[in-house]
Symmetry: C2
Subunit: 376 residues, 2 copies
Amino acid sequence: MAVRYELIKQCRHSGARLGKLHTPHGVIETPVFMPVGTQATVKAMTPEELKENGAEIILSNTYHLYLRPGAELIKEAGGLHKFMNWDRPILTDSGGFQVFSLGPLRKVSEEGVTFKSHLDGSTHLMSPEKAVEIQMALGADIIMAFDECAPYPCTHEYAEAALDRTTRWAARCKDAHMRDDQALFGIVQGSMYRDLRERSIRELVNLDFPGYGIGGLSVGEPKPLMYEVLDYSVPLLPADKPRYLMGVGSPDCLIEGVMRGVDMFDCVLPTRIARNGTVMTSGGRVVIKNADNARDFRPLDEECSCYTCRNYSRAYLRHLFKAEEILGLRLTTIHNLHFLLTLMKKVREAIFNDTLPELRNEFFTKYGYDTEKGGK
Amino acid sequence: MAVRYELIKQCRHSGARLGKLHTPHGVIETPVFMPVGTQATVKAMTPEELKENGAEIILSNTYHLYLRPGAELIKEAGGLHKFMNWDRPILTDSGGFQVFSLGPLRKVSEEGVTFKSHLDGSTHLMSPEKAVEIQMALGADIIMAFDECAPYPCTHEYAEAALDRTTRWAARCKDAHMRDDQALFGIVQGSMYRDLRERSIRELVNLDFPGYGIGGLSVGEPKPLMYEVLDYSVPLLPADKPRYLMGVGSPDCLIEGVMRGVDMFDCVLPTRIARNGTVMTSGGRVVIKNADNARDFRPLDEECSCYTCRNYSRAYLRHLFKAEEILGLRLTTIHNLHFLLTLMKKVREAIFNDTLPELRNEFFTKYGYDTEKGGK
């Protein structure tokens, strides 16, 4: 089997679990946060920097790579790992989320989704078979089924139709998938409706995937609603398979998701806000351009051991952002990735030591509750 | 003495010389190319990357740092070295070239130059005393006198007035300079007029600077004219002091300058063209976005040992540039700096081994004569 989940320990205080995900490119300790490298690069980072900050697996994107540079080119290069010089595990998203996000530029049928490229307006059909074919060419360790992600809010009727199609497409993805060295995960949908989530899980589990994505969350709903969906959904998923909450990555959501039994997360949030000059610190978010950083010669976070905090002051970082220098966003990206990946390491240690509730309380007390969206 | 030049060997075949420049932050082997970090950062690079590619000294800019973030702030931070986390030597340009480049935004008087900031339009006076005061606050190892750089072409009369003022300003800079731990270099002017260059050198040498910049070249004149000026100027400079050809950095100009006795060079060329996707290779320039790189899975330069060439293909670099990914310009910047700094290392070895003419011939045969401007 391409990917095998090993349950190491179940938390005594919550649904959290410590595990290992065995893949062709190495073992990942879970719960894990996966930095996003949409276009075959985690923006502004080298693979060495990702590793130095603790990244064990990264995510890349079928939709973007299919359009540019094309899956065949990446296959010729020897696959995505070799193309981008990343020798650890990769997960590719199926492109479903991106295609459905195109709005008026796409048309859905049972066959798949016809859409116009955001790059040149050319017309393409993405189907379950095509999404799997592309992902087989890219060669990630974990690939995702092509799904229909319903918007929020949406009616029960709409959500039901989307979920039923997602299930039928999941079966077609499974039939199309031919590589033994990669695992195909199914994706749970059902919007915020409990009966639909339950049905989605029941039907997908019948198809027996080696792992399950939880889709259709962090799409604009309030966080408590997302937690509620996780509360009743995750326990229905098989305990011997990894659960991946898609597109979620704010620190509070990571902790809350882990406590509800989620093993994997991805989000552009830490890297995107870093490029805009916002950093996560143990004391909460800091906007680096703010005037009070002008003569602040302390590091971003005095508790942090990342390259940025070891070597640069807030004053220098502010100067770099004011002067629109690329080094600025490199340094904040390093810091934010280090912050989130270190948080996940602490979470794993806390599960091991049965101290997860204490970690949660300490974190929220110091960091402050983050009311923003998890973000895509 | 803050900076001492040690002549190691005079080339048998040309004016080239091998030397060591002793500074408070370390010894620099000359001839040397200095990467430019205009705004207290060599664009897109960390200090570690600069060192890995062989940078021994970098240049930064008085005009830019004075306007943003301000010299006082950098002084408070502990000086420019500490502010930007660079512990090797730094040279700061005086701001003369930048201020004179402002065109209609500046007005020259004997006192100095009144100019409007390119950032916010605020009015400032830059004088010899002010330029030295700022550079003392920044704390570079080598600082430059405030000069008037005449445009090309210009009349003998204009060039003469500019050179005379440059000499008077050089004397004022010397009077204003109070730091024993940094060296103040004078700047030779005189446009393309032999009598003026000779007079400039005679008068500056009378003032006895620890090193001399050769200004007013690479300002639009044909390369042979620049070489002619060097031919008659450099031999008049004292042999026991370093000579710095300002703003010159194309590979051919480096070799030609070295052979005429120049010890130091700086230029934004390698880093600027890198960010636009043009790289220097042993076989000449390569424009990475060109279609013939799309499926070229070889490195940029098969003779190159830089990080980029060790790990990435032209196809991947082209993808990064097409997708406007920051990693692309990081990787080309690394490559171009490595290329130029390695070229200078080979030049030093060739002077040592008395093989500089052979190196020159081999380089121009393979690389092709570069007819473009040295560039600022």
